[in-house]
Amino acid sequence: MSTTTAPLTADEFLKLLDTEEQRVELIDGEVVDMPGAGPAHERVKANLIRILNRWLDRHGAGLVYSESAYRLGERTVLVPDLSVLGNERLARRIEEQLRGAPDLAVEVVSSEAADRLQDKVRLYFKHGSKGVWSVFLRSRTVQINHSNGRIDTLEQDQILEDPDALPGFSTPVAAIFEGL
């Protein structure tokens, strides 16, 4: 698939995705490989799924999706490591739920180029996300991106909150890196 050169539409790409096992995204018509996900990446995802589900269940506030392909536009499909869909979004027909950006997108970053990551953050907000979290494995930090461009960088001894995306939610950053 990395030999694909002609630009694809989102619909063509989603059809391709259905038949491939590779981890790929579509950005402005270009098929882009997603960095491989090692055990630390998967553990952080598992921690976050548990943390988010606990809070979402208690508040009846939505669901966590994992590696879902969101169709942001004619030529862009992004696959956040994790995403949260609120109740309003979940009330749509199932076929429509992955159209547009998720309410919250979470990317777990081990090696992704910084410029590509910032492109994705910008795209998520442009297409309606309320929050985008970037979790950095190497530095054990979390960046909370805000729609106005502000970025809060949180260390392990800090508390993560994102009132725009999940009002009332909080977790110690350390809990996200538990087990590493």
């Binding site: 259905d18 038949t19 979940l90 199932i94």
Partner: protein, 72 residues
């Protein structure tokens, strides 16, 4: 599992079991069915009105199959 070919899926189930998985669950969203494999020659198919149990893989676990397809 939505579009994987049956042959490739069978291979994967065999490999999971061979390398130590205590069970393999295959979820068919379109058919609203779940297949539980415990061994190469041991499989059970569960429909929406049945209960999925964890057995050796998740002792004590159980969920209605319908809960897995909630929202569809």
């Amino acid at each position: 599992m939505s579009s994987e070919t049956a042959a490739r899926l069978r291979t994967k189930i065999g490999l999971y079991l061979k390398y130590g998985s205590k069970a393999v669950w295959v979820v068919y969203p379109d058919e609203r069915l779940i297949e539980v494999h415990w061994a190469i020659d041991q499989v059970k198919i569960l429909g929406q009105d049945q209960i999925l149990e964890g057995h050796d893989a998740l002792p004590g676990f159980s969920t209605p199959v319908s809960a897995i397809f909630e929202g569809l």
